[in-house]
Symmetry: C2
Subunit: 222 residues, 2 copies
């Protein structure tokens, strides 16, 4: 490309073709209580920018999906060997990614208040900063993310209109919208988090598939 | 290094330090019925040779471990959404690795006869070739690996003493040995396959962790 406007043809056609807004987005389904969602949440905005792919932030809740399978809590508690492994694996993955790691107590955390805020603000410019700050408080500092004071502080820190957002997060519309998001996830075949959905069909599950999902997104023509 | 023998010091000390036989091995726990074990089985010998790490082949059975958790069959059958995802993910991973993929019917296969042969021959020079041939028949060609005729053909193809090996695989010692291997796996915290165990402590689960397990193995001094 030359900085001089071309004499003919479609001006800046190549640039438009690479514009993230024009491409189908990668839907990022995350659950605030999920350890591996932390890994993806901290990495996805930088990686997707590099890949030229737009992210659609889709907070949801795994609890209702797990309960339909007969699980009353996290599979990491139901299966102690898997649980013990997960904590060690998370420690290793956080070291690899240069992320702090301090598990919260209790685990899993009650993620409903944070999920409602993220659902209400999912299209706001501060959504990425909010999601990262919540995950960092929870798994980087071991804090209780069901604490609405903490969530209000995070909103203020990132420059979001805290009072307005908290009110919106408690509205009937948000509550219903989040329930619908859970149904949409389940209907779309999602059974765990993080999950990545490309162009309404291709599903990728787990932080280990984030790079692959972004590679596939980059292969879709704008 | 110079090809000329040094005048003093320990001759070829650096070469000895890199000799795979001198290093603690990476234990490769695999289950012939497991789809993701196929991915690792086809890749591990080349990757471990490149990493200078010796592999200890540890066939085992997941059935007895799953049954203790109350699962009567594969979690991919118990959880249909996870099962559907697994087949699609396997298809994608096989494409990435350049492996053929044709799921066998029924799934999961009865892996006991193949596991007994692999247990009996786990320290034989043909073990890698046998394991790959069984997995390739099962997941590359969709064949039934409980068929002892197929297993005999594979042994002959790879130049193993088929009759002797099949007799050994049916011996009380092999049957007891495989049962003990399952107990050892469970005691070691293994809950799925493939799993990789480094220096009797560090556990890595899943084909996605094979490279990481080998990197960790390469960091251990001889």
């Amino acid at each position: 490309m030359t900085p001089v406007e071309p004499a003919g043809g479609t001006p800046a056609g190549d640039i438009e073709a690479r514009e993230p807004q024009q491409r189908p987005p990668l839907r990022f389904w995350f659950e605030f209580a999920s350890t591996y969602s932390y890994l993806s949440a901290m990495r996805i905005e930088t990686l997707s920018r590099d890949a030229g792919t737009r992210i659609e932030w889709r907070p949801f809740l795994l609890g209702p999906i797990f309960r339909k399978q007969g699980w009353q809590t996290s599979p990491f508690l139901l299966h102690p060997a898997k649980g013990r492994y997960m904590w060690r694996d998370m420690q290793r993955q956080c070291e690899r990614y240069g992320l702090p790691f301090m598990p919260p107590s209790p685990f899993p955390q009650n993620s409903l208040p944070a999920a409602r805020i993220a659902h209400a603000g999912r299209e706001q410019p501060w959504i990425g900063a909010f999601v990262r700050a919540v995950f960092m408080a929870e798994f980087g500092q071991g804090r209780d993310i069901s604490d609405e004071g903490l969530l209000a502080d995070i909103l203020l820190d990132i420059g979001a209109p805290a009072r307005e957002v908290l009110d919106a997060s408690r509205s009937p519309g948000t509550k219903a919208g989040l329930r619908e998001a859970v149904e949409e996830a389940e209907t779309g075949g999602i059974f765990g988090a993080p999950s990545f959905v490309l162009a309404d069909s291709e599903l990728y599950w787990g932080d280990d598939r984030l790079e692959q999902a972004l590679e596939a997104a980059a292969r879709i023509p704008a």
